[in-house]
């Protein structure tokens, strides 16, 4: 009987050990393989990098055919891959039609054969999103901006949108031939949002169809001809959309035709002054803080904590008289503390941007939106949209920084022009961590304290305790 007892004990124990090991390993194996399919995590990142934005969910939810996202790897497992997998996993978790697969290009070169013509641009961790015979590429270089933002979700959502019927983004055309200076940040944001970005030579080419297009005149240095102005006006009459960016520094030339057109047909005056605001400078930049005015364009960010910045600007004034069919709204204006020097030459001759006597007192409008209703002979009502900025920098560097609302305003202005039809604007997300500034002295001080003093103190304490007790 006792023998049975022992037998039972030891058998139990052996079965137990093997069973426990197997159960633990099995459970882990199951969980690890489920990791990509079920969300079992809580996101503690400040910008919720690993949670899909509502926009992304909406787009991902509309994918109704099997879609595969390939992650190209070369056999290296690192944090970036983990992060990419984690973000992409969210798409898979949201819609089971979307599957994520790692492709080791070293091991399965055949898998990427089909994209041979893209191979030059493809690199480690580039993504290929494919649905039957269509595919889109997301390059890994575009994932992260230099100042620490992740664009993975945004890029993937934008690309996924191209597979969804009924989502059609406007074409955005930058005019050329007038010494325009186009901000790369501006173009980048628009492309990332899924707009097709191109150029238009207004002298030789016709304006596009009014709907689904936006024409941007960015910082021109050569005036438009009367013919071009006429074409522009006709385009606006048909419900076209135009954005014009002036700048007191980069394109301070007078543009009589364009400026007169704005004044006479839209009641907007581009001043040649230069607005500056010493007290609202944004640290480490040439930007100043602006105030938002409530409007359809600013509404989504009006109540948020986000700030908005503008560069040195021409103030945008109102003509004494404006055509009755035009409505004008201020989007951004400077703070009251702003002042305007007569022009850049005055600033140069004063040798300083400090406020001087003779400077005009703020606030000044720096970004305005105007719409013009026009009924054609057939009785159809067309609304043309115009956005005028006094600063070309307004949609430059700051647009990439999600802490500022500049990007929101740019994209919202475009969707406003599209009649409120919002574009897919998944915001870039701030990556964990940021920078800090540690001086050489501070670095060495902490090195000595943390690496030498603290461990040594602990060690000495240990030796003291040991020696003291030894002779007890």
């Amino acid at each position: 009987m006792k023998n049975q007892k022992k037998f039972r004990y030891s058998l139990n124990s052996k079965a137990f050990i093997v069973g426990a090991v197997i159960i633990v390993l099995l459970l882990n194996a199951i969980l690890i393989s489920l990791n990509d399919k079920i969300a079992l995590e809580i996101d503690f990142t400040e910008d919720k990098i690993y949670a899909l934005a509502d926009e992304s969910k909406e787009i991902a939810g509309q994918i109704d055919e099997p879609t595969e996202i390939l992650i190209l790897t070369s056999g290296v497992d690192n944090e970036i891959l983990s992060m990419v997998k984690n973000v992409l996993g969210n798409f898979g978790q949201h819609n089971s039609k979307i599957t994520i697969r790692e492709v080791n290009v070293v091991k399965e070169p055949a898998a990427v054969q089909a994209y041979a013509k893209e191979l030059e641009t493809l690199s480690q961790f580039s993504l290929i999103i494919r649905q039957s015979d269509r595919y889109e590429i997301v390059n890994s270089q575009d994932y992260f901006s230099q100042n620490g933002f992740s664009y993975i979700e945004r890029l993937v959502t934008t690309k996924l949108a191209t597979f969804v019927d009924g989502i059609h983004n406007a074409t955005i055309l930058f005019t050329k031939g007038h010494g325009e200076q186009v901000s790369e940040g501006n173009v980048g944001i628009l492309e990332m949002t899924g707009y097709e970005v191109g150029q238009i030579d207004t002298l030789t080419e016709d304006f596009p169809a009014a709907e689904d297009s936006v024409v941007i005149i960015s910082c021109p240095q050569v005036d438009f001809s009367v013919e071009e102005i006429d074409k522009l006006d006709a385009y606006l009459d048909l419900g076209g959309n135009v954005q014009i960016y002036f700048d007191p520094v980069y394109c301070s030339t007078e543009l009589p035709n364009l400026v007169n057109y704005l004044s006479e047909d839209w009641g907007l005056i581009r001043n040649t002054d230069i607005v500056w605001d010493m007290s609202q400078m944004i640290e480490n930049s040439n930007y100043m803080l602006a105030q938002m005015s409530d409007h359809e364009i600013t509404a989504p960010v009006y109540d948020s904590q986000k700030r908005v910045g503008y560069g040195p600007a021409n103030s945008i004034g109102r003509a004494p008289e404006k055509p009755a069919n035009v409505t004008i709204h201020t989007l951004l204006k400077s703070y009251d503390s702003a002042y305007a020097k007569a022009d850049i030459q005055t600033a140069i001759s004063q040798g300083s941007m400090e406020k001087a006597s003779g400077d005009a007192e703020g606030p000044f409008d720096v970004l305005v939106a105007a719409s013009r209703e026009n009924e054609n002979v057939a009785g159809e009502l067309h609304v043309g949209h115009l956005v005028v900025s006094g600063s070309a920098l307004i949609f430059d560097a700051l647009t990439a920084d999600t802490r500022f609302a500049n990007e929101d305003i740019l994209l919202n202005s475009i969707s406003w022009m599209q009649g409120g039809e919002s574009s897919i604007t998944v915001r870039a997300k701030m990556l964990p961590g940021g920078s800090m500034s540690v001086s050489k002295t501070q670095f060495w001080t902490w090195l000595v304290i943390l690496v030498v003093v603290v461990p040594l103190a602990i060690l000495v304490a240990g030796i003291l305790v040991f020696v003291k007790r030894r002779y007890k």
Binding site: S13, D77, S82, L459, V465
Partner: protein, 244 residues
């Protein structure tokens, strides 16, 4: 359990072991922090977290080597095992004591966060998740080390074998995905299986989730279940010795 925990914890600080552990751990962790974060002027500690586990590979054997081997050698296990306590209480008491010393070490390095606050704005929540991952990794290592200590009578063998296993785990997890390349071709099937296995035992892969700033249930379960498994195995080893 409380008595064992208390004695074990005191033993760490009445002998040089606890001090050596803390001193060496803080030395290397601080070295990494100062160079990775202060030197590169970044507040993100994810690189720190991915590397700091390597220190554990070397210092945790020191923490766990004596837990059971020393008791057996000096026959003090006779006191514990004939006292009116369960074997599981003995094992848990010791495990928790070693874990507490580990926690002290990890908590000490958490002072890096307020230091960064002086020069920038670190993301506190994300960093704390990283610290949690680091601690859980350590807990797993401690359980493994304790198990090795229960198998042998020699502290040296316990320490060296723990170091060997942890080192192997660490190197293997860095090697993930590369085996299959070597085996690519005719043995591809085998290579894929090996890849899966390597990914499964990859500590780094589990740790990344924490270093990214997400609290994922899977790696939390991974580390805790493996720690629990080794605690369980230790209990079994002690109980089976009773039957030998």
């Amino acid at each position: 359990m409380k008595a064992i925990y208390k004695r074990e914890l005191r033993a760490y600080f009445k002998t040089p072991v606890g001090y050596i552990f803390l001193s060496v751990f803080i030395f290397f962790a601080a070295l990494m922090f100062v160079f990775i974060n202060m030197g590169a002027q970044q507040t993100s500690m994810s690189s720190f977290f991915s590397n700091v586990g390597l220190i554990f590979v070397f210092v945790i054997p020191v923490l766990t080597m004596r837990l059971f081997s020393e008791e057996r050698k000096s026959k003090t296990d006779q006191l514990l095992l004939t006292a009116p306590v369960r074997v599981s209480d003995i094992v848990f008491g010791k495990f928790l004591a070693a874990t507490t010393v580990l926690l002290i070490g990890v908590a000490a390095t958490m002072l890096f966060v307020p230091i960064m606050e002086l020069y920038g704005t670190p993301a506190v929540a994300e960093t704390l998740v990283g610290y949690l991952g680091l601690f859980l990794l350590g807990v797993f290592f401690v359980a493994l080390g304790m198990f090795m200590s229960s198998v042998t009578e020699s502290q040296v063998i316990a320490a060296v074998s723990t170091l060997g296993i942890l080192m192997a785990l660490w190197l293997l997890s860095g090697m993930s995905l590369q085996f299959s390349e070597i085996l690519a071709g005719s043995l591809h099937f085998l290579g894929a299986g090996l890849d899966w296995l390597l990914d499964f035992i990859s500590i780094n892969a589990r740790l990344y989730d924490f270093t990214l700033g997400t609290l994922n249930f899977v790696p939390v379960f991974y580390f805790l279940s493996l720690a629990g498994l080794f605690v369980f195995l230790t209990i079994r080893v002690i109980e089976r010795r009773h039957w030998k």
